[in-house]
Point group: C2
Amino acid sequence: MLSNRVKELRARYGFTQSELGKQVDVTRQTIAFIEKGEFSPSITLALKLAKVLKVEVGDLFWLEEE
Amino acid sequence: MLSNRVKELRARYGFTQSELGKQVDVTRQTIAFIEKGEFSPSITLALKLAKVLKVEVGDLFWLEEE
DNA sequence: TTGAAATGTTAGGTTTACATTACATAATGT
DNA sequence: ACATTATGTAATGTAAACCTAACATTTCAA
């Protein structure tokens, strides 16, 4: 099961979903879906998000047991 | 543009494409496509590959300029 | 208190990741 | 020489990622 800290880190930087989406070239709905864990983004998008949020990809997304 | 070291690391461990695919639950064709850079896998698959190949996701897949 | 901005959410459509099947070739061992 | 295994590659199908558009609700500044 995939978990992530996108919402938490986005808040830390004070970005709106729209702003973050624009920085990584996706819509705010896509950001919302990712924050809710409703789908597993591509590694390309994950890498862009990690760069903008200044963390390692593995610290932004990780797999949990179960 | 997305780059990766899957083929190199797979060789290091002596895995065939089939064996690696089986360990991360995809077909050998999917591994072949990824090695050729023909698509950007999901972060879930990228995390599984990084785990099996014993590297950080960011050291297995990265974005290059251009 | 009003209105804009941010978020939640849903519906319908396009694109792409990934599966299945199949065939061809190269490499290896018997 | 033959069989087996690994790889390359291509066709077709499906599921999921991602888009646009829309409307409702919450939040927050004026």
